[in-house]
């Protein structure tokens, strides 16, 4: 990091905080604070929704995912546009008509207070934990590669977000997200162009894609019905639709983004914007990762990208074995580079096939060396994280980008962390105020609730920093948060679908079904019956089925079960 990098990084982050605080100053009442004055236009909503979903880990981890496993991850997003249409068609008209502050508020209108409170609390637990991880995930990676203090980094990210989110509420979140998205896309686009520029002269973009394809990185679609394969066309279309419906339709951190819209049409247009652009955006980020892979076909790369894991093994009795593997990899790299250059200039298909077979054999040896390196790391430190996909892109940035651009790309990563965290804190503060505090303490002044909203937002910010600071005490916490999300999301989505489409089913049947479903889902997860993404589908289906059965077999037709 040179002075210019620090200048760009600090300047960008301070600009976002000051701009957000200035542009959103003067919220006089709780409606302005929590709904941003209800004057957002569709492009602001669309960018805000995208910025909320795209956290720092999206920009650190996704290119690494493509580097190791190719473009198949894009299938995960195929259900998202379908979910956007359903939300525009069903969810938004109802939320808009009832003028709700939170998604859970609607459930009291449709069912009763206890169903509203249950879903609000499920959201607070899950999202409160997730907000901490949104801060922790980039902090642990940046502290490992840059040597920065992890706790300090957690506090800095958290405090910067708290300043403008507490001060300006929803408006501050959406105006800063526009700037953050501009920085994110600008930085990623410059990085992409530079990677292409760094490739050898003979390697055009098309040839780079050919090289990637020959190495299996362009296998975008998988139509197989393999239940254990996480990313297939079918899991993307079915599981992805359910997951996106839950996330965008019932998670307050997203619902609050479009509830700030000027009109129902603006809200719908904002989500359509997201539905049209999300897949190309993810495709582009994955493509950056594939180009990083092509770049490393012609340039030296480490055996393992996580520097702290490498340090562990180099300071252990396995150091000599690891160094031996690295030496073998260095030799292989020279051979791979020669063969890739041969492949790129050949026109004869027969000769190309021969060279391709050689390349695949060499890459297979390289993969084997990477596997062996992970085994050594595990022996040196059984607790070390051997999956290094989160470290691939940051390694590329720090070792190859010119001065100034390193600062810009670090600003991209921290901006993404801040934009997601801001939405989460804003939603946590809103839900606590509206669904728990105001609902149970009615009759106070508007100013009182405004101050309460700010207080709860700050409190959740402090909790998020606290979770981020203790997160490294747990193993696989990031996956744990995703699993917790999948355990609750399906059930909550099912409750909302019952509310929208099954007027026959009444409140008590839904509440009991939700409790039973939650127990079953936790049990299914406990016995590891299926990949956790499918819990969303099963949870939603179960709660609908059980509520329907309870309603049919009981019952007091007016209010639900006689229990």
């Amino acid at each position: 990091m040179q002075q210019i990098d620090w200048f760009i990084l600090i300047g960008t982050l301070l600009f976002i905080v000051l701009y957000g605080t200035y542009k959103s100053r003067g919220s006089k009442n709780v409606t302005q604070y929590l709904k941003g004055g209800s004057d957002s236009r569709w492009w602001t909503i669309g960018l805000s929704v995208m910025a909320t979903q795209a956290s720092a880990i999206t920009f650190l981890s996704t290119p690494g995912q493509a580097f190791h496993s190719g473009m198949g991850f894009v299938q995960f997003y195929f259900g998202l546009p379908i979910a956007m249409v359903i939300i525009c068609l069903v969810f938004i008209p109802i939320y808009h008509r009832l003028k709700v502050f939170t998604a859970y508020e609607y459930l009291e209108t449709r069912f009763d207070l206890k169903t509203r409170t249950l879903t609000a609390i499920l959201f607070l637990i899950q999202r409160g934990l997730a907000a901490g991880i949104t801060i922790f995930a980039p902090a642990i990676i940046l502290s490992a590669v840059l040597g920065w203090n992890l706790v300090m980094l957690n506090i800095i990210i958290g405090v910067l977000v708290i300043i403008y989110t507490v001060s300006g509420g929803t408006k501050a979140v959406s105006v800063t997200q526009k700037q953050q998205m501009a920085i994110i896309f600008g930085g990623m686009f410059v990085a992409f162009l530079l990677i292409l520029n760094y490739l050898p002269l003979d390697i055009t973009f098309t040839k780079a894609l050919e090289i990637a394809g020959a190495s299996g990185k362009m296998e975008i679609l998988d139509f197989s019905f393999d239940f254990n394969n996480k990313y297939t066309f079918w899991s993307g279309i079915i599981g992805g639709t359910f997951l996106a419906l839950s996330y965008f339709g019932t998670d307050q951190s997203q619902v609050q983004r479009y509830l700030s819209g000027k009109s129902m049409k603006e809200m719908q247009m904002g989500l359509i914007f997201n539905g049209l652009l999300k897949i190309p955006m993810q495709f582009f980020i994955l493509l950056v990762g594939v180009m990083v892979f092509v770049f490393y076909q012609f340039n030296s790369s480490p055996l393992h990208f996580n520097p702290s894991a490498v340090n562990d093994v180099l300071n252990s009795p396995y150091a000599a074995q690891y160094q031996d593997l690295q030496d073998k990899k260095n030799t292989l790299e020279i051979a791979i580079k020669e063969q890739q250059l041969n492949y790129a200039v050949l026109d004869n298909q027969g000769q190309k096939q021969t060279v391709l077979l050689d390349i695949k054999a060499l890459q297979s040896q390289e993969d084997q060396l990477r596997i062996s390196s992970k085994e050594l790391i595990k022996k040196a430190n059984p607790k070390a994280e051997t999956n290094d996909k989160d470290y691939v892109f940051i390694h590329f940035i720090l070792n190859n980008l010119p001065r100034g651009l390193i600062g810009l790309l670090l600003a991209v990563i921290l901006s993404a962390a801040m934009s997601s965290t801001a939405s989460e804190l804003n939603a946590l503060g809103s839900t606590t105020t509206i669904d728990l505090y105001r609902r149970n303490n009615q009759g106070r002044s508007d100013k009182h609730y405004l101050m309460a909203s700010k207080g709860f937002t700050m409190l959740w910010g402090i909790i998020a920093i606290g979770v981020a600071c203790v997160a490294n005490l747990f193993e696989n916490l990031i996956e744990l948060v995703n699993i917790i999300g999948s355990i609750f999301y399906g059930n909550v989505l099912g409750i909302f679908l019952l509310a929208f489409f099954f007027t026959y089913v009444k409140s008590r049947a839904v509440f009991i079904a939700a409790i039973i479903t939650q127990g079953i889902i936790v049990y299914i997860w406990w016995i590891d019956l299926m990949p956790y993404l499918w819990l969303n589908v099963v949870g939603a289906t179960l709660v609908i089925a059980i509520a329907f059965i309870l309603q049919v077999v009981s019952l007091d037709k007016n209010n639900g079960l006689e229990v």
């Binding site: 894009v74 195929f78 008509r97 719908q268 539905g275």
Partner: protein, 41 residues
């Protein structure tokens, strides 16, 4: 409660061309990815 349920049941779901466009574009993405994959794999 009954009044609220009546309101919910009267909810009309208005399909517009924008929604059709989103689904068509999604299908186009899949076809493009398929062609891209066939070309480069």
């Amino acid at each position: 409660m009954e009044e609220q349920e009546t309101t919910v049941s009267k909810q009309k779901f208005v399909w517009t061309q924008k929604f059709t466009l989103v689904l068509i574009v999604n299908a186009i993405y899949v076809v493009l990815f398929y062609l891209l994959m066939k070309h480069f794999v």
